[in-house]
Chain length 278, copies 6
Amino acid sequence: MKPTPNSPSKSAHRPPAPERRTPSGPVPKRRRHWPGAGLAGDPLPPVLAFGAHPDDIEFGCGGVVAGEAMAGRAVHLVICSHGEAGSHGTPRQRVAEARRAAALLGAAIEFIALDGDAHLEIRAAHALRLAKIIRRIRPEVILAPSVVENQHPDHGRLGSLVRDASRLARYGGLKALRPRLPHAIGQLLFYAVTPEAEPRDITPVLIDISAPEIVRRWTAAMRAHASQTSAREYVELQLARARLLGMRAGVDHAAALFPNEPLVFGSLAQTRRGARRF
Amino acid sequence: MKPTPNSPSKSAHRPPAPERRTPSGPVPKRRRHWPGAGLAGDPLPPVLAFGAHPDDIEFGCGGVVAGEAMAGRAVHLVICSHGEAGSHGTPRQRVAEARRAAALLGAAIEFIALDGDAHLEIRAAHALRLAKIIRRIRPEVILAPSVVENQHPDHGRLGSLVRDASRLARYGGLKALRPRLPHAIGQLLFYAVTPEAEPRDITPVLIDISAPEIVRRWTAAMRAHASQTSAREYVELQLARARLLGMRAGVDHAAALFPNEPLVFGSLAQTRRGARRF
Amino acid sequence: MKPTPNSPSKSAHRPPAPERRTPSGPVPKRRRHWPGAGLAGDPLPPVLAFGAHPDDIEFGCGGVVAGEAMAGRAVHLVICSHGEAGSHGTPRQRVAEARRAAALLGAAIEFIALDGDAHLEIRAAHALRLAKIIRRIRPEVILAPSVVENQHPDHGRLGSLVRDASRLARYGGLKALRPRLPHAIGQLLFYAVTPEAEPRDITPVLIDISAPEIVRRWTAAMRAHASQTSAREYVELQLARARLLGMRAGVDHAAALFPNEPLVFGSLAQTRRGARRF
Amino acid sequence: MKPTPNSPSKSAHRPPAPERRTPSGPVPKRRRHWPGAGLAGDPLPPVLAFGAHPDDIEFGCGGVVAGEAMAGRAVHLVICSHGEAGSHGTPRQRVAEARRAAALLGAAIEFIALDGDAHLEIRAAHALRLAKIIRRIRPEVILAPSVVENQHPDHGRLGSLVRDASRLARYGGLKALRPRLPHAIGQLLFYAVTPEAEPRDITPVLIDISAPEIVRRWTAAMRAHASQTSAREYVELQLARARLLGMRAGVDHAAALFPNEPLVFGSLAQTRRGARRF
Amino acid sequence: MKPTPNSPSKSAHRPPAPERRTPSGPVPKRRRHWPGAGLAGDPLPPVLAFGAHPDDIEFGCGGVVAGEAMAGRAVHLVICSHGEAGSHGTPRQRVAEARRAAALLGAAIEFIALDGDAHLEIRAAHALRLAKIIRRIRPEVILAPSVVENQHPDHGRLGSLVRDASRLARYGGLKALRPRLPHAIGQLLFYAVTPEAEPRDITPVLIDISAPEIVRRWTAAMRAHASQTSAREYVELQLARARLLGMRAGVDHAAALFPNEPLVFGSLAQTRRGARRF
Amino acid sequence: MKPTPNSPSKSAHRPPAPERRTPSGPVPKRRRHWPGAGLAGDPLPPVLAFGAHPDDIEFGCGGVVAGEAMAGRAVHLVICSHGEAGSHGTPRQRVAEARRAAALLGAAIEFIALDGDAHLEIRAAHALRLAKIIRRIRPEVILAPSVVENQHPDHGRLGSLVRDASRLARYGGLKALRPRLPHAIGQLLFYAVTPEAEPRDITPVLIDISAPEIVRRWTAAMRAHASQTSAREYVELQLARARLLGMRAGVDHAAALFPNEPLVFGSLAQTRRGARRF
């Protein structure tokens, strides 16, 4: 089976005009009406982030989400359980914490039920369900937990399901996905909820999240998960990690993301910042 | 031993103003006077490319060089032998071919002698000599053959020497490098002269070299090495490779480069094109 | 649980007489009656190839299939969906295209239904079903899509299922597989539908498919999938890939296959051709 | 979802007193009543070993089990099928062989049914079931087959399920695991039933099993699986492997285990024996 | 060429009595007279640490050195340059800083000259020189910078030279090493001066360095390198890294070391602490 | 620099006639006069094996050498030191042992001096010297120690030098190699003196060395190195390793070799034996 290369959505996102010459060219009209976009007239296509549990996105890539939202981009969070298997916090509390955190990050949020916390399985039906969401939100970039298997089983499985879903979303013949039009995303980036979940076989990219307001919002969003952070040092863990990556990148704080596909650039200008501080 | 983080050259290249907000901000004055820059008033810092033999750069990353030069950036080629061990072509012929190819690509070229073709060894003196060139040209981006060992021995060794040189260039205490000021490059990107030399442990970036004029100049530059291409299918090999990578990237032709350091970005916008066509 | 090492089928395939001395020794009688063999009196055990969709085998290893069939070996294709999720082509069209392509390649073909296109899951029942087919066809060599996960989800999963099935086929106690006798294959080789699906942790073998008639039949078989190739450059992609591998191998065209198990040889004579052209 | 760091069981196993100073400190009272412990007053927390088939543990890490039992530690074996798909031996015979082998090794044994021999699938319900066993036995160390996929499918899947289960066992909110208290194990070590199943991405640890009585008991336990060893050289395989590893380690026989997590030590004293004989 | 397995020094370090039973057995008399031992009657064989520059050991594994010294073990530091190529600090200053740092860590220190800072090359003569030092100090454990090539070139090369030297030290026929007796070390552990230098193909071990006095001494030793730390955040980098590894290991601070050889243990007891906190 | 593709020697080894059809076709006349060939009229091109020390080839791949010689192929051994750094045996003894072992294996032997035992360095002059030997012997297959770095330093370095030499041998412009004609080998295969030296990133091929006479001759050749084997279990180590690999391959004994380049085959027939016994 092969994808739909010339679907309307795709041609909208990747206009045939070469990027080299028109990186800031006119924005196709339809881009202005992304569902869920936070700002009227926003020219940036949305970011879609998936989390297995109510706090995964915040701990794994909350600084990136905050930065994108602050730059005026719509960010849509999809949480795939209520965190009901956690040692602390009721599902009700955890959902409330996640809603508050999303508000602090400037992101929209929705909850879906797959198999339940700690019960996630790899099922084609799940991938199709996530693909439907992708067709609805029509993101340019997707964030998902890494597919590393030696972590919470829900994390790696959700990463796999999102990867599959991002392919299925652009296949034209899938009846289960109709009537939404096929959609080809631009890139899938994995985040790691903890350092152990960082894939060893993908070179990361580092995102500069040093702006004080980004750090402030991100920290607040993590702390919003009070049921998880009262007894543990999760906030400190993530800030130390961002600081360490930041020192490597020559900035104050940075986040590591792992692209599922090689990056495509129009020139060397986009490769010119390397994390070369030591 | 530790680098000079606050050297003048480095602060010039990485201004403290956050990239997120001022990607097209005012160019520091001193950038206008890059030695070897081809165009007066060129705001882009130069690219420096190293090759072990007269045709390595053309075959390994000639399309990228052509594209950068066409975009108005100074590109400086340094060739580290006269190709005197090759099966075909005299050193004199090969140097002339390389000069002609460089002209076709729009790049400056110089030749240096290290240990001679097929005789290159890893020596600290070589790395220091290359570091001096780096301090003189003061490039933002360096291109070098990959450090993969299972290829022509000169290729992998030159890659290693350039990697070392790019560190040494920013260390302040090296008497051998005086009086030139320390210089911190932004990124070192490896190219692979043949597919076998592509590193398996670095995720590549793909550079779009589809513009017909780029392909035309690149092809002409490869063909300028007539002594090497008359009996062999090198030009076809490289064009097929670029076409294959292009199909992967969703463009006509692409080149693969392998960053020595993780890329640092100001936002997700720079990651949004993934090679996701299959 | 352990395999049946001395099962009749296995001793037929791997006679105790050392290969070193009798590579062309007398063929056991029962080999002459392979089900599905195309030619009467064919002494070569059949090749069995699995594809997830109607065109996967043609695009991934069609040249190898053509070459084997031309050499007089029975090749049996098993397609595990009707390609009903593709962007182009109805299931009916796609099945017809696959039948025509198989005829062009000189291979037998059958279709089975597992979970449906884009719905394949890892289920023990699927592996057992494939194992039954293996016991029926009794191949020496099996071709299957690679188990790389970052590709169409059906591809990697089918590769996993075939790998499991090739083990289960030789276990004597499996009631679900009776009454067919256990069968031990000689080798499982993975093909990659696109370059991205090539496993990075297995050294490939390259099969010379340069004979013009092989290339002609293979190209025709790919073009038989008219619904898939009209809007896309799949045929060009595969031919460019074969040409690139061919240049590496020192021949006109080559295909890369990835053995699931180390190859066993009787002497160094079988290792003497290395892809050493650059 | 996050674990229960301060659960009673965990604090029992990892007392806050630094290991550096009190490696042989007083044993918490509750450790004396491990379920299934073979010896009254045993201060060592039990070892729990999982096998997919009746003979996997014996062939894969039987020497280690024998050594631990001889050192006075309770070892509990959980076998997840009756080996009903094997080429030789009825399920009844195989269960009897496993019971006898466990007795020879000095270990307790129990059988559970998941999906049946050669039918094991990755299901959240299985991981939860194994987690319940972990909460019941409350082991410090778990042994499980490696997660390498290119082996008997049941082996790799059971390894994955045990890895997941060892995480789930410490999550406080899982209703399916109540009323047993959460339990955090100290380490999960993978064994390889055959050399091919050894993970290539984990540095092994080698366990010295040279004591003649260990080798004797282990050999006897392997031979107790008479239905599997009569027609095959499994015992010889494992002894040759242990001898080879032993020569590497500078002892008579050794077993390789693959830790799922980095080892944590109080000082360099515990790292001082390296396998440095060649 | 093969090592001397039964040399006196080796049999002293690895007594034939099985470790399982006599981990705290009587210490051979000659162990009491290690050259450079800090404490009379010290039964622990010394640790030998190599650094390419005056501050590498402190930044890369200073916490481990402090912990070992506090536990009464002699630690001997060998620094292979005066740091004369650094951007800051004169050689004289840097040597003085290193001496002071060693005193704070409780370690002996010596300086040797190889090729000079930023000039180190791989030479057999260097490896033999380091092997002589190994025969003189007769350590059980050696610490050296990792052999990762993408770091300061002196670091990776010194790691390689130390690895070679630790082999040469036990070969009996090397005239250049006489009259010192051959010596077989127990283990070589690599440290990483910065996170980028951590080898990706070796599973680390984590050493608990949480004791407040260890952290205090280590921090003081890093700060003793005032010429290097005034303009840079090296101390913060290392403390953040240790904190992050500590959170992973479930302790306050930890250091990662990378064993060159698989660890050999007498039982599972030594494997029971895994870094399993997330 | 590029190779000489159409050199006389190469066209002799790789005739344009497709292997698929004429695997046993007429042998070019000049093949009958290989220097050093043991048998008059021998149609097989010679095998060239390099060893760093007098016993490396015997321990690392002696069974393969014995098998090739018994099959009538000339095998030429080149030993690059006198083993003067070994713990046991004088250089004179060791050379005599190696000569006797070569005679037992049926191979010619010569000794060359590079830098001396335990002193080998990577020098272009060494690679050129080895390339001269390659041009003189004109082998089809070369055997060399693996390039793994964590083994005796001479081993890995010799492997690197031989790999470079096998490229240099076919470059036409190297004055240092004249007047011998360029020669392109078919394949370079690495052997591992001990299991630790087996490369992890190359899939091995297994050579069946089960014939009793092969094992007998190989064992005798290893035992001929009496100075090395009296105090150590090297012979047992290698036989256990060959037995283990043999069980994996389904034969009595096997040797693992690691091809430097992908194997090229004319059809699937040559891939049909996989090591699939477990």
